[in-house]
Structure formats: structure tokens, C-alpha cells
């Protein structure tokens, strides 16, 4: 009986090599997540309808400028609280680099927003004013994307006269 030959099928796939001593090669890694905003979902739904939602503690009445379902101070549940669309720059920075997926957007400006009616802040992008045109205390107002991405970038801030 003839001897059977076992062989892996040959393909045209190969390695992208950077070096051979030591061997350094490219290895790709990618995945999709089925991500839930869970209890924070109404916030992101709010952005899509031009509303900025914070949360208010049902016990101590503390208002969070970035929502959370339970109060950090006393552990009580919070309720949704609509925030004003106008605030002030608490701090800011213009970034000339970023994570790889954001490099194309550089330079961009990050801003911590202070609201008159909230006890904590909100992190956002500031559009239309870079490092030399803005300072701590500058009045800014919210704008919303027309076509929502259902992520935090659906809201951004601009100078009040912008």
C-alpha cells in the first residue's frame, strides 16, 4: 500500500518581518465589542436630542456635572437633572498629539467645563478656540452633532460668541 502523505496546504500568507535577530514581526489584533452604556444610556440619548444631562442626588441634592447613578458622597440613588448649555472653562489644554486613533484630529482642545448649577465638572472638546484664545473662566456653550455617534463627542463646546 502506498504511503500516505500529509501536508498543510500552502497559502500566500506570510509574516511582515522587521528583523531576524531577534525575530521581530507584525502581529495584528482587532475586535468589536457589544458595548452597553447601561444605566448611563439616557445621558447619551439626551445628547442626540440636544440635552445635557447631569444627575442630582435624591438625598444630599449634590449635582453631578457628569452623571452617575449613585451619589459618591452618601450612596443614594440620583435622578436625572438637565444641565445648562452654558458654562465656564475650569481648565483646558490644546493637544498636538493623542492616542493613535485621534492623531488625525490634532490639534484639538480639551476643556473641563464648570456649570453654575452643578457641583462637579464635565470633560469635553472645545472647538473654535485654541490655547491662545481661551482662558480659565471664559464663557462657553454647548453644541451638538447633527448626526449623532452616540458617544461623548456628540456634545462639544464653543466660545459664547462663536
Amino acid at each position: 500500500m502506498a504511503k500516505r502523505k500529509f501536508r498543510l496546504p500552502e497559502t500566500e500568507e506570510g509574516a511582515v518581518l522587521f528583523n531576524t535577530d531577534p525575530i521581530i514581526l507584525k502581529s495584528h489584533y482587532e475586535m468589536d465589542y457589544i458595548h452597553s452604556y447601561a444605566q448611563d444610556s439616557p445621558f447619551f440619548a439626551g445628547l442626540a436630542s440636544g440635552r445635557l444631562l447631569g444627575s442630582r442626588c435624591t438625598r444630599c441634592r449634590k449635582v453631578y456635572g457628569t452623571p452617575r447613578a449613585h451619589c459618591m458622597d452618601d450612596g443614594a440613588k440620583t435622578e436625572w437633572e438637565e444641565l445648562p448649555l452654558r458654562g465656564k472653562v475650569h481648565s483646558y489644554t490644546t493637544c498636538f498629539y493623542g492616542g493613535q486613533e485621534f492623531l488625525e484630529e490634532t490639534p484639538y482642545t480639551l476643556v473641563l467645563v464648570e456649570f453654575d448649577t452643578a457641583d462637579t465638572l464635565f470633560l469635553s472638546r472645545l472647538v473654535g478656540a485654541g490655547d491662545s484664545q481661551v482662558e480659565i473662566g471664559t464663557e462657553i456653550e454647548a453644541r451638538f452633532r447633527r448626526n449623532s455617534r452616540f458617544n461623548i463627542t456628540d456634545v462639544y463646546f464653543v466660545p459664547v460668541d462663536g
Binding site: S27, S91, Y92, G98, Q100, F102, L110, L112, L123, T153
Partner: protein
């Protein structure tokens, strides 16, 4: 709790990329070094280990700690991995301390590593930023330096701190590193060099920021009985403190200062704290470590500090959190030369993260090793010169810090001989 001593340590030279050695090999190198330093210690005497690495993304290998454990020949002894961002090394050291303090182990190895060169710098920044709130913060830029830059701006606004003062931290730490063969970027800098390097996130330039690196570090801790058997220069882990703060900068409170024993409420009655200008977790960690270590006046009672200078600005902020000066005086503190090698309290005599590099899981243990050598007065033996040896160093502190101060450890160490 029983007293715990550090009996040995080892580090690899941190570098931007070490493709010749994987994480197991790097830890092995640091481990061998630490074993050679205490000839009486053999692997069979070790009761177990605690492993420190920050990111499974960088390693591209889950349970990498298990692979180090077998590579070092420590199986089937117990081991656990701890993780807390940039503070992972400090948390690892404190966990190993707890293993010995509790009596569970007589000799425990704390080992840490990170291999960050496996992705490019900007992908690395993405990985690091995944350690910020991925719903509310990450999608805005995926960039931790941006968060620190906002903290720095607010510190400047509150207290009048200047970018030149931040630059002086880079000058000091890179200059110290000239005498440290383990440092990857020893250099003499001017304020102009720092300010004219590429702007990364206003006000921080490339030279205000540490470098992602590959590297490993090991610290070996022991009970009093085991330590006295192994070395005539044991270093006591005298104070252990840790603190935390909110993941999102936006959530930080604006309240009153958590006081240290040498401060008075009067001096801070107008200060809203911590806001985004200070690190509440560092203050909490320092307070606990000082209390346990019996330290009332840190500048007078500590001979040096190795602190987490991922950014020049965060070093200035941390002077204040650790009580080396009052809140608001951090800029003047560096400008006055107080944290210099010849100053009131040398800070980062090794060159710190800015000059040595920051392979995250190894960093906090590197600080322990440098502090250990300082207190043993063996810097000359390990560095080949005594330029960085703080004369007559009897007591020091190390400070490990995770992104925007979310996890922080402060550990005080002192001579046990």
C-alpha cells in the same frame, strides 16, 4: 503585623525597546542580580511572589505573571498579580509587604515589568488612556497627557506656578541621571531646551514627559528573622500608605484640605481642594504612611524621596501632596533648589521616571530598589560611583502613582541596622 525588611533588589536598564529579551528574561535578569546581592539567599527559601504589570494590551499575553513565575523556578509556590495603573509597582511592593507582615510568607519576591515597545508610541498612548473612563473621557482624545496638562494649567492658575518652574524639574532629574548608569536619558538641559522641545499638550512639552519603556525590577522582602540571617544591612519598610481618587477628573471634589500633622487649617482656609490641581490620593497615602512610619515633619525626617515624576508638573504637585512644602509653594520649592541633590530633601536622586523611563509595572519597584541602595549606602557598589549617594541617608520615602492620581502609594523605608 510583624516588621518587614527589604533585603535585596535588582533592575534592568530601562530602554525604549528591548527586543532581545522578553518580559520573563528581563525579570530573570533583575531577579538574578538581587539573588547575587545576598549570597545566602537561594530560590528554595522564597515562599512566593507578587507580580506587577499594568497592561495586558502591551504584553499581548494574559496571565503573564504565571509565565514569569515558572521562568524564575518559583512554581508551585503561591503568586498573585496586582494591578493599579501607574501605581502597580508600588501596590505590588505593598502587597508583598502584607504577605510577610501577615506571617503568610517569610520571604516574598515582588517582581514587575512592562514591555511597551511592542506598539508604537501613539498606540501606546491609546492603551494607557484605556485606563481612563472609556465612556466619558477616552473618546475625546485617548490621551493621558491631556488630562495632566489640564491639571498643570489649573495649578498654574491657582498658585501662579510657571512653565519654567516645571522645566526645572526636568533639568534636575535628567542632570541627576548623568551619574546613574541605569538611566536611559541622562543629559544637561536648559529651561529653553525644555520649552522649545515639541509641544505635546499645552503647557507640557516632550521634555516635561517621561518615556514609555521596556524594563523589569525586583524587590525581595523578608521577615526580621529571615532578614537578619540574610544581610547585615536590612532596610525596614516602616510606613505603608495608599490612597485613591475618582477616575474622572471631572468628578474631583472641591472641599477642604486633608491635613498632615505639621500643617494648620488656618493656612488653607481659602483653598478649595483637591479640585484638579492636586492629588488627594497622594495626600491620603502620605498621611497613612507617615503615621505608621512615625514621621511628623517629612522634610526634616526624610533624607530623600523617589517620587513618580511621569510629568514635571506632577512632581511639583506631589511636593505639596507629600507635605514637602505648603500647597501653592511647589513651584517656589523647585525654583529654590530644595529638591536638588544638594538641597533640603533630594527628590528623585536617581533621575526618576523622566530620566530612567517608565516601564509601568517595573517603575514603582525601581524606586524601591534605588531607595534600598540609598539606605544601605551601597549606591557606589551598584551604580559604579557615589555621586548620587545621599550622605548618611537613614530614612526615605517612595511614591507610586496611577493616572491622574487614581491609585497612589507612599512607602517609607529606613535603615534596619
Amino acid at each position: 503585623m510583624r516588621p518587614v525588611f527589604m533585603v535585596s533588589g535588582g533592575i534592568t536598564k530601562f530602554s525604549k525597546a528591548s527586543p532581545d529579551k522578553d518580559f520573563r528574561y528581563m525579570v530573570k535578569e533583575a531577579f538574578e542580580y538581587s539573588l547575587e546581592d545576598v549570597p545566602g539567599l537561594t530560590v528554595d527559601q522564597i515562599d512566593g511572589s507578587v507580580c506587577s504589570y499594568f497592561s495586558d494590551h502591551f504584553t499581548r499575553q494574559l496571565k503573564a505573571g504565571a509565565m514569569v513565575q515558572d521562568y524564575l523556578g518559583l512554581c508551585p509556590k503561591p503568586s498573585i498579580r496586582v494591578e493599579g495603573g501607574g501605581a502597580t509597582g508600588g501596590l505590588c511592593l505593598q502587597t508583598a509587604w502584607a504577605e510577610v507582615a501577615s506571617g503568610r510568607m517569610d520571604i516574598a519576591v515582588a517582581f514587575g515589568f512592562e514591555t511597551m515597545s511592542r506598539v508604537n508610541t501613539w498606540k501606546g498612548n491609546e492603551f494607557i488612556a484605556l485606563a481612563s473612563d472609556t465612556n466619558f473621557d477616552y473618546p475625546l482624545g485617548g490621551f493621558y497627557t491631556g488630562y495632566y496638562a489640564m491639571m498643570a494649567k489649573r495649578h498654574m492658575h491657582e498658585f501662579g506656578t510657571t512653565v519654567e518652574q516645571f522645566a526645572m524639574v526636568a533639568i534636575k532629574n535628567h542632570r541627576n541621571a548623568v551619574h546613574n548608569p541605569y538611566a536611559q536619558s541622562p543629559m544637561e538641559l536648559s529651561i529653553d531646551d525644555v520649552r522649545s522641545s515639541a509641544m505635546v499638550a499645552t503647557p507640557l512639552t516632550m521634555l516635561d514627559i517621561c518615556t514609555m519603556s521596556d524594563g523589569a525590577a525586583v524587590a525581595i522582602l523578608a521577615s526580621e528573622e529571615a532578614a537578619s540571617r540574610l544581610t547585615d544591612r536590612p532596610i525596614k519598610i516602616s510606613g505603608v500608605g495608599a490612597g485613591t481618587d475618582t477616575m474622572r477628573l471631572a468628578d474631583r471634589p472641591h472641599g477642604s484640605v486633608l491635613m498632615l500633622p505639621h500643617e494648620s487649617e488656618e493656612e488653607y482656609k481659602h483653598l478649595s481642594w483637591p479640585g484638579v490641581h492636586s492629588f488627594r490620593g497622594a495626600r491620603a497615602a502620605a498621611k497613612a504612611a507617615y503615621r505608621m512610619g512615625g514621621i511628623e515633619h517629612p522634610v526634616e525626617e526624610l533624607d530623600f524621596i523617589e517620587l513618580h515624576d511621569a510629568y514635571t508638573s506632577s512632581e511639583v504637585q506631589t511636593y505639596e501632596d507629600l507635605g514637602l512644602c505648603r500647597y501653592g509653594e511647589g513651584g517656589a520649592f523647585i525654583e529654590g533648589g530644595h529638591p536638588a541633590l544638594e538641597g533640603k530633601i533630594p527628590v528623585n536622586p536617581s533621575g526618576g521616571l523622566l530620566a530612567c523611563g517608565h516601564p509601568v509595572g517595573a517603575t514603582g519597584l525601581m524606586q524601591a530598589v534605588f531607595a534600598f541602595w540609598q539606605l544601605q549606602e551601597t549606591m557606589a557598589k551598584h551604580l559604579g560611583n557615589d555621586k548620587l549617594q545621599v550622605k548618611d541617608a537613614k530614612r526615605g520615602a517612595i511614591h507610586s502613582h496611577a493616572g491622574t492620581g487614581t491609585y497612589i502609594t507612599v512607602t517609607t523605608m529606613e535603615r534596619g541596622f
